[in-house]
Every structure is written in C-alpha cells, then in structure tokens.
C-alpha cells in the first residue's frame, strides 16, 4: 500500500502536527475576465487572531473570503485553511472543510423561503442533529445576537441590521473554527453598525474564533482593535491602556497587492502616503 503523501511545502506546523496558522495565502493571484483582482498576495491569519481587510471597492477583499472558503479557485498560488490546501481540493472534498468555517455574506444571503429558525438551523439539520439539540442551539445562537423573538419570522420581515444579526447567528451556530465576515456593517446606520461590531468582538473574545473581516468602514476595524468584550458588563468596552491584547491586525490592499499587514498602531503611524490618505 503506498504511503500517504504529505502536502508539499505546507506551512509551518506545531509539534502535534497542527498548522500554526488558521489561514495561509502564498503568492495568490486571481483575475476575472482579464482583470487582475489579486496579484500574488501572501499573508497568514494566526489561530485566535482577527484580521481586518481594508481597501477601496473592487480591491479584492471579498474575493479573499471566497478564496478562503474555496468558492472560487485561484489562478496561481496556494491557500491553506486549517492545514488543508483548499486551492488543490476538489469541490466535493471542500464541503467537509467548510463545515468548520462560518461566513457572513455582504447582503446576509439568508434563504428567503425559510424562517429565521430554519436559516440558523440549516447546518444542523443538514448534519442530522436531533431536533431537541437543534432547538437549543438555535435559541442560543439567536440569544447571542439578541433576536430570540424572530424565531418564526421570514427574512423578508426583518430590517437590514436584523438580517445581518441572523446571518451571524447562522454562521456561529456550529461554533466554527474560522469566521469570515464580508462587510457586515455595509449599508447600515452607525448605531446598528456598532451593534454588529460588538457582536463580532463578543465572538472574538468569548469564543476566540479566528476571523477575517472585510470592511469599508475604517472606524469599525479600529473599534475592534481598541475594544474588548467585558463579560461582567456584557458589553464592549475600550481597552484604554489595560494589558489586554485584542489580537486584531490590519491588511490593506491596493491594486491587487498587499501594501500593509500589521497592527493598528503600525497602521496609524505608517508613513506610506496612500495609507495616510486612506485612514485620514
């Protein structure tokens, strides 16, 4: 019997064989209809880390999330997610890996013919989880986003902000190892945006889930980097010099390339002219 073949040049692993990073992009390029969207980008997301992807519209931020999920394939380069090379996997093999990931889509992408309960329970129903457990976990997930009362409503009956919160509940119901947020605050008013960011911070600090967050709103990303979730107060509070590492970093894209990958402080003190203009 031939010996199993180890993935070639896979990323660094810990002593127990687990990949150190949750996500690794190596020289990834992709183009759509002749337009180069990502041009040889490389970065990694460590376990428990949150990385905010910033850049102007069309800079390829959402494409990074879809590449991570294996929803689209790169033209060149390698992508590892939880130690598996998604860029080399067949669609049929990806479904198992995707069950360990959660994604919140830009426009929520809730199934409009299903109730909120069935939307949130979707993954659990597919996995054949017993009905009583489904009910318990759905209620927990909806309580997390403070929408327990919407159980039997349809997505069309909810406001934009509520739909995003249901999408977050659907993504976290199975406690995935990685969460991908695609512009979760896009098109929402500042108050609702803060509610959504608070939920993301809560998920980060309570469950320590690794996550990639695409955002057009720089202040959302900075809020995440400078706030943590206080379980005692049950709300998000500023770090204000406390010895707390929010484990949030930034990645800035421009013309399909990564022009910045670092902390909030490094971003704030960057001398790059484009970045200074972008964050001003």
């Amino acid at each position: 019997m031939p010996a199993p073949v180890a993935p070639a040049e896979s990323p660094a692993r810990t002593t127990d064989g687990q990949p150190q990073s949750a996500i690794v992009f190596e020289q990834v390029s992709i183009s759509f209809e002749g337009n180069m969207v990502l041009d040889g980008i490389s970065f990694s997301l460590e376990r428990g880390e949150t990385k905010a992807l910033l850049g102007v519209a069309g800079s390829g931020k959402s494409t990074i999330l879809k590449l991570t999920m294996g929803l689209v394939k790169p033209d060149h380069g390698n992508i590892w997610v939880l130690g598996q090379e998604v860029s080399a996997m067949k669609e049929e093999d990806l479904f198992e890996l995707r069950r360990k990931l959660g994604m919140v889509f830009q426009e929520s992408a809730l199934f409009d013919s299903l109730t909120v309960r069935d939307n949130v329970a979707y993954r659990l129903i597919e996995e054949g989880v017993p009905e009583d457990k489904i009910q318990k976990r759905v209620e927990e997930a909806l309580r997390f986003v403070e929408l327990e009362h919407t159980l039997n409503m349809y997505p069309g009956e909810l406001s934009g902000g509520m739909r995003r919160r249901v999408a977050i509940a659907r993504a976290i119901v199975d406690q995935p190892e990685i969460l991908l947020y695609d512009s979760p605050t896009g098109g929402l008013d500042p108050v609702t945006s803060t509610t959504i960011i608070e939920l993301i911070v809560k998920q980060r600090d309570v469950y320590h889930t690794s996550s990639l967050l695409v955002s057009h709103r720089l202040q959302d990303a900075f809020t995440m980097a400078t706030h943590y979730f206080d379980r005692g107060k049950n709300r998000m509070v500023p770090v204000n010099g406390a010895p707390i590492d929010t484990r949030t970093s930034f990645l800035v894209l421009r013309d399909g390339k990564v022009i910045f990958d670092g902390s909030a402080h490094e971003l704030g003190t960057s001398r790059d002219e484009y970045i200074r203009e972008y964050i001003s």
Binding site: M69, L71, F95, R98, R99, F111, R170
Partner: protein, 258 residues
C-alpha cells in the same frame, strides 16, 4: 446591442454545453451518493406533477379534439371516418402526448427552476449553501431532475388519455361515431413499439427540462435582469431541444423497433 465575434460565440457555446453536461452528469450521479434529499424530491414532485396536471389535461383534451376534427375531414373523403380513433391514438401516444406534456412542463417548470435558482444565485444564497457545507447540485438539482423525470412520465400517460378522450368527445358529439368503434380502433391500433416510444420520450424530456432549467438558473448573473434572461433562455432552449430530441428519438426508436 453588443456584437460578439463568431469565435467568442462558439467558445461560449462549447463552454455552456460542457458545463451543462457536467451538471447533468452530476445530477444523475448524485442519486447514488449520500445525502439524498427525499423530502425535497417529493416537494418538487408535488410542484411539478400536481401543479402541471390542469394544463396537461386541458392541452391533451383539446389537442385530441382538434386532431379528431381535422382527421375526420380527410378520412371522410375516403369513406374511412371510422378510423378517426386510430389516427388520434397513434398521434397522441407516439408523438403529441410526450411532446405537448414536455413543452407544457418546460414552459411552466423550466422557467420556474431557472427563476428560483437564478434568484438564489444573484442573492448569494447558492454560495451561502456551499459555504454551509451543502452541495447545491445534490440539494437543488437532483431532486428537481428526479421529480421531473418521474412526474413527466405520468403526466404524459394522463395527456395521452385525455387526448383520446378529447378525440372521443368530438367523434361522439360532432361526428356521431360509435363509441365502441372509436375506443376499439384506438386500442387495437397501438402496438408495443408505439407505447414504448411514447413512454421513453418523457423520460428524456423530463431530464432535459430539469437540467436546462437548473443550468440556466445556476449560471445566471446580472441581477434581476439576468434572472429574467435566464428564465427566457431556459424555456426557449428546453422547448427547442424537446422538439429536436423528439425527432431523433422517433427516428432511432422506429429503426430499433422495426
């Protein structure tokens, strides 16, 4: 309107055929793979089968009636009016029953599938399904293909029966033919090969209608306008293919069963 070069058009056509073939093959292959969505298949069978019943019954009935009406005019000239049942029977069972039922289901369900899946595609619900670990070809395509094949088979039998009934109504009420003679002629003229031809066709048409409807839905893009375009294209493609496949299947089966 934007002009497309013939090379680009040919490339797009070959790509579309390749993608449709892959989707169609997967939809059949999924029948033998887990998970199987039995309740989704039953729901689709209800939507396609029960939902299409009224139009198939009416189409069959009036087509049978008009066949009898037109056949009678010609047969009368040769003094063979009594053969009306024979003509209606052969035409309905071998050609018109499967084709008309197929076209009706194409008009009603290929468009429904294309618009439903197209709306899901443009609102990222298909991507969300994939992201949640579900294969859309198993969850959405295979149940529709299986349900359409099975239900079109039975709808064709119903269409044939109501076609004969329509022909009988005209023969009885308009032409004053003997009821026993009509039904006896209609029954006696049918051979095993005619019935086989008439029952193989709906299986092929059902497969075409569902896979084409799903293919156009899953590949639609460009918002609501794109969904509308996909819906129209699905009905046009399914209808033309039904008529073309009907011709070639008749040729082949008539040769094989000769």
């Amino acid at each position: 309107m934007e002009l497309i070069s013939p090379t680009e058009w040919a490339k797009d056509l070959v790509l579309a055929i390749q993608e449709w073939t892959y989707l169609a093959a997967r939809s059949i292959g999924n029948i033998f793979r887990h998970p199987r969505y039995v309740s989704d298949t039953l729901q689709q069978a209800d939507l396609i089968g029960v939902g299409s019943l009224p139009i198939v019954v009416l189409t069959g009935f009036f087509t049978g009636g008009v066949l009898a009406l037109n056949a009678a005019r010609t047969l009368e000239q040769y003094g063979s009016l009594s053969l009306t049942g024979q003509l209606v029977s052969i035409s309905m069972v071998r050609e018109l029953g499967p084709t008309l039922a197929g076209l009706m289901v194409a008009g009603r369900n290929a468009s429904g599938m294309a618009s439903e899946l197209g709306s899901m595609k443009v609102t990222e619900q298909i991507d969300a399904m994939r992201a949640l670990g579900t294969d859309p070809s198993k969850k959405l395509v295979t149940p529709r293909v299986v349900a359409t094949i099975i239900m079109l088979f039975f709808l064709t039998i119903i269409c044939d029966f109501f076609g004969l009934t329509g022909g009988f109504a005209v023969s009885q009420l308009g032409l004053h033919l003997d009821a026993h003679q009509y039904w006896n002629n209609a029954y006696q003229t049918l051979e095993f090969g005619d019935v086989i031809i008439g029952l193989i066709k709906p299986l092929l048409f059902g497969f075409l209608v569902a896979t084409i409807g799903c293919y156009y839905g899953l590949t639609s893009r460009g918002g609501t306008q794109g969904v509308g375009r996909a819906t129209t294209q699905a009905v046009v493609a399914a209808s033309i293919l039904i008529l073309a496949v009907n011709y070639f299947t008749s040729q082949l089966l008539l040769y094989l069963l000769k």
